[in-house]
């Protein structure tokens, strides 16, 4: 009987199948790459109401993180400082600078400055700064070299798998507590080694069970 499809059909089918396969695989790879935490979550750099430069204050002026974020050792929040704290210096330093307009207003009116949140975790995650800072996890481990950023930018994915990496192997991220805010810390020997010593010394044992972070 007559052919319904020309002979070439088989060939076309084979090629078609091959193409389809490639498209699927490629698409999957692409999708995975785009949504991969490191690519999707990092790089967020919102514009702040006040052009505050961490590079200037923490970097060049060498102010300690604790000066403004004084609650990190006492509380789960690393509270953004009250306007008061800014004014401690800025009543004398650049008292007229137009860039500090909002700060002065806030100080006068009592209305808060609306800083934009950069590092966000889901609401069911109870990250606690106190717990980390007091055992010697440095700011840099999660926030990167803030002291080199003019505008603060998220550099770590901050997803659960990423958290667990450190909770399973904390050694590389544990340092002497006094070095926590020293973002440029470069020990003379392997930091992980120092970390291991501290872990044994302090009996550090980060939780890997759910209720460690989810309540």
């Amino acid at each position: 009987m007559a052919l319904i499809f020309p002979k070439s059909t088989d060939q076309i089918l084979r090629l078609g199948a091959l193409a389809a396969g490639l498209v699927v695989i490629g698409g999957a790879a692409m999708g995975l790459y785009v949504t991969w935490p490191d690519n999707l979550k990092t790089g967020y750099t919102p514009v702040q109401p006040v052009p505050y430069s961490h590079k200037l204050h923490a970097g060049e002026l060498g102010m300690d993180c604790y000066y403004c974020h004084y609650t990190v050792t006492k509380s789960s929040y690393a509270a953004v400082p009250q306007t008061e704290v800014c004014m401690n210096c800025h009543v004398r330093v650049k008292p007229q600078s137009p860039r500090l307009e909002k700060i002065r207003d806030s100080y006068a009116t009592g209305k808060p400055v609306e800083w934009v949140k950069v590092h966000k975790l889901a609401d069911f995650v109870y990250f606690n700064h106190q717990a980390h800072v007091t055992v010697g996890v440095s700011c840099v481990s999660c926030h990167g070299r803030i002291d080199q950023m003019v505008e603060v930018k998220q550099v770590k994915p901050l997803n659960m798998a990423w958290c667990l990496d450190c909770h399973r192997n904390p050694a590389p991220n544990i340092r002497p507590v006094e070095q926590v805010t020293n973002l440029a810390w470069q020990p003379d020997r392997d930091p992980a080694e120092i970390g291991r010593e501290l872990i044994t010394a302090k009996g550090i044992n980060p939780p890997q069970n759910c209720s460690g972070c989810h309540r």
Binding site: M1, I4, F5, L32, N159, M160, A161, L164
Partner: protein
């Protein structure tokens, strides 16, 4: 077309193909169903069934929007109609594979005229069942992929492989895949037949669908091998699927669930309900499509025998449960079973016993076994009974377990009922579509079987239902 009265007369010794139909006639009749102009009654039927199916989707939408609370589920009865219906449909899905695979391996020739429809039914039933495991969860949009073992760069978490629900996912999806393959491979020669009879677009479609089947001896040889292999693959599945479904209950601590008898008991029950559903559908189909001479009384009778056997096994299982409960001396265990028979859900329990244990016993009588209207009614009873079996196991065990203070009761809501009703709509719609567009009967196999019988007659005039030479060794059928 020519009607053979003997087809309906049980006193004529039933044979597999009646009225001495020629091979050509069979091809013709089966193909015509798909070729002839669509009858009005079909439109009416599918109109009704598909609108019922729409109710299902509406209800599911409402469920996802509002939450499980639109159903009657509560504490302590956290599973109710949802899982009941899941197990019910999965059970029905058993007959197909059993008929096509196991009966095939056992060389039961009578399977040939019903296996195609039975397999189709299996697929559709499993599709209906598949709805529940997903939609009974509180957050289906998460359950949809958190239950699958996919690598997750965000959480780096796997499913809990200790959980029977995860086993379910594997069991059911495997079952669906294999049965679908098996069904399709079986279809290929017939699709080719349709292709050869068709013109234009229709020919293109069937041409593509039949994957260039030419019916050469070599092709037949490979085909039979493939068919055999698939049969061998799906045979264990028939047993595994429902065993694993039964683990959902058997592995728990709940009195009434925590029972080692469940796997065999569930499989028997599944075959029981599956065959009942095949009867229900075949009785209608053979009447609607005038296939009495292909789906003969003998086919139906054989299935009724299976129903009788499995029904009795199920009844035995019920008895064993009670005995073990008493024998265990465990007060909680004992209470559950007393509570089943005499507690608030006693009505459900006795409905189950009546439908599943009592009614099949009628099939001891050949007269009833071969009485079409009777078996139709009875098959429906069995299906009702099997639904109640699952409901009794799930609801009555849950509503009164260890702590009397936490005892409750279950009342279904309209949403419960409409959702279940809707699944029937989906099921029937799919089946109607199948009847309309695909050969409802495995033409090639029938023809093979007939040719082989004819040969025997010719050779030594044995009665038609003589033991057959294995079909797989049979050569040219074209």
């Amino acid at each position: 077309m020519a009607q053979n009265p003997a087809a309906l007369d049980p006193h004529v010794k039933p044979i597999l193909v009646q009225g001495g139909a020629s091979l050509h006639k069979i091809t013709d009749d089966i193909s015509k169903i798909t070729e002839s102009q669509t009858p009005l009654k079909w439109y009416i039927a599918i109109g009704i069934s598909s609108s019922i199916a729409l109710i299902l989707f509406a209800m599911l939408g409402w469920l996802v929007w509002m939450g499980i609370g639109v159903w009657g589920n509560n504490q302590p009865v956290a599973w109710a109609w949802d899982i009941t219906n899941f197990v019910f449909w999965i059970g029905i899905g058993h007959a197909g594979t059993l008929i096509s695979a196991i009966l095939f391996l056992f060389r039961q020739k009578w399977r040939t005229s019903i296996n195609r429809a039975a397999e189709a039914m299996t697929l559709f039933a499993v599709a209906c069942a598949g709805i529940y495991p997903l939609f009974h969860t509180g957050r289906p949009w998460r359950a949809a992929y958190w239950l699958l073992p996919l690598p997750n760069p965000y959480l780096a978490m796997w499913p809990n492989f200790r959980s029977p629900l995860v086993w379910d996912v594997f069991a059911v999806s495997t079952y669906l895949t294999v049965s679908a393959l098996f069904w399709y491979v079986g279809l290929i020669p017939d699709l080719a037949t349709l292709r050869d009879r068709a013109k234009g677009v229709r020919q293109m479609i069937f041409g593509a669908a039949s994957l260039g089947w030419r019916g050469s001896a070599r092709m037949w040889n490979n085909y039979e091998k493939a068919y055999l292999i698939l049969a061998a693959l799906s045979t264990p599945l028939v047993l595994s699927v429902h065993s694993i479904v039964s683990f959902d209950f058997a592995t728990s601590v709940l009195p009434g669930w925590h029972t080692t008898i469940f796997p065999p008991y569930f499989v028997a029950g599944a075959i029981f309900s599956g065959f009942a559903m095949v009867i229900t559908l075949m009785v209608i189909a053979r009447w609607a499509l005038n296939l009495q001479y292909l789906i003969t009384i003998r086919h139906l009778e054989n299935m009724n025998k299976v129903i009788l056997a499995t029904g009795t096994i199920v009844g035995y299982a019920y008895a064993t449960e009670f005995f073990i409960a008493w024998y265990s001396g465990n007060p909680y265990e004992r209470f559950v079973f007393i509570n089943r028979a005499f507690g608030p859900f006693a009505w459900a329990y006795w409905a189950m016993v009546t439908c599943n244990v009592v009614t099949p016993q009628f099939f001891w009588s050949k007269r009833l076994r071969t009485n079409v209207p009777f078996m139709f009614v009875l098959s429906i009873f069995v299906n009702i009974g099997m639904w109640f079996e699952r409901f009794v196991i799930i609801a009555t065990s849950l509503h009164r377990d260890f702590m009397p203070s936490a005892w409750g009761y279950f009342r279904p809501t309209p949403v419960d009922m409409l959702t279940f009703f809707g699944t029937f709509g989906l099921f029937v719609t799919l089946f109607l579509a199948f009847c309309r567009f695909l050969p409802v009967i495995a033409v090639s196999e029938i023809k093979g079987m007939m040719a082989n019988e004819a040969m025997h007659e010719a050779m030594h005039g044995q009665p038609v239902n003589a033991p057959a030479v294995p079909e797989v060794l049979e050569g040219g059928r074209h």
